[in-house]
Amino acid sequence: MGYVQAGYSIVLGILFLYGLQLVWRRRRLNRSVARVVASDAAAVGLTVDTAGARHADAPGVGRPSGDR
């Protein structure tokens, strides 16, 4: 029975840890994407809402850009 318990714990443990790692990776990547989109939007004078859409800033907000 010890073998059975060891087997179950190891296999399920591996699967659980890997699944956890996947979720963590996805969360970290989502944050990176949000950061990139926000900085891109700021660079061209837009803001980003939570759905990732870009909106024009109110005048005076964001980096001054000569030709836009």
Binding site: Y3, L12, R26, L29, S32, V36, V37, V44, A51
Partner: protein
Amino acid sequence: MSTNQHVPAPPVQSRRSLWTTRIIGITALVATAFTVWLGLWVTPPDQVQGNLVRLVYIHPGVAWVALYLAFGLAALASVLYLWPRTRSLYWDRLAAAAVEVGVVFNVCTLISGSIWGKPTWGVWWAWDARLTSTAVLLVLFLGYLALRRVPAEPEVRAKRSAFVALFAAVDIPIVHFSVLWWKTLHQGATVLNANLSPTIHGSMAWTLLLGFIALTLVFVWMLLVRYRIGVLEDWLGTGELDVALRERQAEGAGLDDDEAAA
């Protein structure tokens, strides 16, 4: 100011696909928990194998996922990528996700098989066709992943990986038959029967089936999440560079303005 270079639209995941993934994940979790409960407590010990039969509820499940589902999917996706008419990076991403998840299941297969084998056959490992092919498959999977880590253009990397997957797919049946002959043609081969007793019935049969279903669901959930990770990584691969470029250009533009003003 610098050229009007937007990063491409961020890869937003539709609510439907996000919720599909979540529901599959929850179902997988429930099914696995149910399997464990049935396997460890509800079902009776086997007449021949005793409590060891409980490992049979998960070992064939992970094996089927690793060897046939994951690897088969990866091979199919690779062929679809290589075929010019169906070429699309979606297939490459799917293959990569399937291989990575497949490696995890492959390791689980070898470990669970080994743990079952020790009290049954007395050895941690036996050089029979199935075990050896599984081990070779793991090495081939790892080679695929190692090759993917080499930085390259997405299309180049996709093509290279697809070829490796194709060659591996061709090799596995050959390895399997070689080892099969190796053991059976050689005089004095011990008869290690890796086959399960075919007369498994009652609650045990249902638990076995549930085990298959639960682990398949786990695989599907992992595949979906890993695929999503691939999408995000690919997008970031281009997005970050564009942002860095623009910031660099903006620095230069700022300097020019200052110099012009001076």
